[in-house]
Amino acid sequence: MSVLADPTCVDDADVRADRRRRLFAAMDDAGLDALVLGRPAEVAFATGARQLWTAGSRPFGPACVAVRATGRTHLLSTWDAEVPPEVGHDDLYGLTWNPALLAASLAAIPGLADAARVGTTSSSPGFPRLLASAAPRAEVVDGGPALWAARGPKSGAEVERIVAACRLAAAGRDAMVAALRPGASERDLVAAHLAAIAERGAPAPPTEAVASASPAGPRRRPSAEPIAAGRLVALDPGAFFRGYEGGFGRTVVAGGGPVAGADAAVGAVVAACRAGATGADLLAAWAASGEPPPAGPLATGVGLGLEPPVIGAGVGAATVLAPRTVLAVSGWVGGALRRDLVLVTAGEPRVLTEDL
């Protein structure tokens, strides 16, 4: 088993090399001379660097620049700690508050000034002007499709890491079940989950919304009220292993055992997760169960955190499922939650969370 104990260390060289190869191949296919990445998971994919985790989304900025002509990835980092050796000191540019200094850092990236087509994964009203100062001849295009062509399909090693993250999440689930004593609140369960995965070395969960005992449906902010005996308690643990997300949703009765209320409907959607199927097929599989349309996403991609596609009411119907992508399928039925991770293949889907 190549997957080791430490969920936080910089990942293995072969995993990094494979991701880098996929990234530059996708840039080749899309005719991108450079790709400017902003979000932490994108940076992790391209460079393998482990950076400080912060909650929430921040406005787009050039956190990493991949240049096709040189095959190098340039990283916004003031230090080389947790930066893999293939990203050299010359490839680092430091944190700055000053747009002029940032522009100078970008202008110093070899090959960027000559780029004719530059993809960015997002943008902001001020960003094109900043980029134009570093790549004056470039046409700036949507780099999202190229990034997702590289990131979407998962290697075997990536799936291993998702499974390892699911095991960490299971420890979080076990801690929540143990904490679900008479008088315990949702807040006690969340506290138990956070502590359990941090004790295993993985402190930042994908979301803190991991326990809900609200009869009105999912509640994302935990209550401090004691959970009444007999109440359905949805447990939705999650964790990261070397950047990869794992997790699953199950429901128990306070003072009792597991509840299978959503299992059949979610199972039907999972069974429809085959390469070539569309988002509409998944929505139809859910509708065939006779349950009302899901309030939240029925399925999302999972990898280095949550990923496209998002499939749900009004979104993602035209999505075509690609082989080797991993989807989280979730549904609520009568106050019960079930969420499973499934690996899409040309044949039978492989459920990664079946035995949890």
Partner: protein, 386 residues
């Protein structure tokens, strides 16, 4: 408080001639709407995010959210909308369609982030940076905002009372995170804002990571790494309470009964002297440059803060926001930044003696009508009292 914030945004929209705002960033949406959403990692927070639309002349913001139960109670029903997945063409088109009923195409909209699908969907609008509006609105806090920051900081400080006794030889960084994260949830935090930092500092820079500027590498992420007796630990954490961030910074020493050396006590005394010098000049009308110069004068002309950061930063719905003091924006910028009542400063001077590590702590003050008031209140053990 939410009504006062909305009024400030409206004032800035009018002053800057914008017709509205479309905000995507987590902290910007929290500021504009007061909407509650769970703590999420950045990928999830971007894909399944609340979106705020502020229309000039309408005192109520519009909220597009996957977490409708987090909408503030006073939000009119017709201002609460289904989630808009703006990283997806379908979702971006749905937002644009709703927007067309609020603001006519051709209008000038302030935006913080514009994913490509949203850019395509909003092709009929003139998009400009939102930061002129949001930055100006957020710069000085209302009395209620100051109370929220103080409450967030108090909760963070209370959690540390349970963490510090665990700082014994052999404990790992993530063991400390486990105690901290459990405690902040028990105490009622909205969510954790940053991977808690418990960084052992090398005695010499040469023994630490390489940096682009040759200075201190901080903050580095935590790991299941055991800490050793006598390690100097720089602590930095932040949680959100009532929508506002805390920022806790202290220097600790690993040990069963840690006693700072004479050199370490001297570092703390110098840190304290820098703090006293800076606090002495904080009042309305003082500039950021005045603060920076006072700090340098107290350290004999040396710059007592981390080169890639600042002497001080603001805090609010963001863990670090304007006013920034002593950044690489330069002295001209600092000279133009004039303190006013309601501004918040997280002061974080650093004393570094290469060969003997250093001392770093953070304290928070708010500028008052004639000086400042503390928003943080935590001992400096094992160094203090000064």
């Amino acid at each position: 408080m939410r009504a006062e914030r909305s009024a400030r945004l409206q004032d800035q929209l009018a002053a800057q001639g914008l017709d509205g705002l479309v905000l995507l960033g987590t902290s910007a949406v929290a500021y504009a709407t007061g909407a509650d959403a769970p703590g999420c990692d950045s990928g999830r927070a971007a894909l399944l995010r609340p979106v705020a639309v502020v229309v000039a002349g309408d005192p109520s913001p519009h909220l597009f959210t996957p977490y409708p139960e987090g909408a503030p109670p006073e939000l009119p029903g017709d201002h609460l909308h289904p989630a808009a997945v703006v990283d997806d063409d379908d979702g971006a088109a749905a937002l644009a369609s709703a927007l067309a009923g609020l603001v006519l195409p051709g209008a000038r909209l302030g935006c913080d982030e514009v994913p490509h699908p949203l850019d395509r969907a909003l092709a009929g609008y003139r998009l400009v940076p939102a930061s002129g509006v949001t930055g100006a609105a957020k710069l000085a806090k209302t009395v209620d905002e100051l109370a929220c920051i103080r409450a967030a900081q108090a909760l963070n400080e209370a959690a540390m009372v349970d963490v510090r006794p665990r700082l014994r030889p052999g404990v790992t960084q993530t063991d400390l995170s486990a105690v901290f994260l459990r405690r902040v949830v028990e105490l009622g935090a909205d969510f954790n804002g940053i991977d808690p930092i418990w960084q052992p500092m090398p005695a010499r820079l040469a023994d630490g990571p390489w940096t682009v500027h040759g200075g201190v590498a901080f903050p580095l992420p935590s790991a299941p790494r055991p800490l050793d007796d006598g390690d100097v630990i720089w602590v930095d954490t932040g949680v959100h309470v009532g929508g506002y961030a805390s920022d806790f910074g202290r220097t600790w020493i690993v040990g069963d009964d840690p006693r700072p050396t004479a050199r370490q006590r001297d570092q703390f005394a110098r840190w304290w002297a820098v703090m006293e010098a800076v606090l002495a000049v904080i009042k309305p009308g003082a500039t950021a440059l005045d603060l920076a110069q006072a700090a340098r004068a107290a350290e004999g002309g040396a710059t007592p803060w981390i080169e890639h950061f600042y002497l001080a930063h603001g805090v609010g719905t963001d863990s670090a926001e304007m006013p920034l003091v002593g950044t690489d924006l330069g002295e001209e910028f600092d000279a133009g930044l004039v303190l006013a009542p309601g501004m918040v400063l997280v002061l974080e001077p650093v004393i570094w003696d290469d060969g003997a590590a250093g001392y770093r702590s953070e304290d928070i003050v708010a500028v008052t009508d004639d000086g400042w008031v503390a928003l943080s209140d935590h001992p400096y053990d094992p160094f203090g009292p000064p």
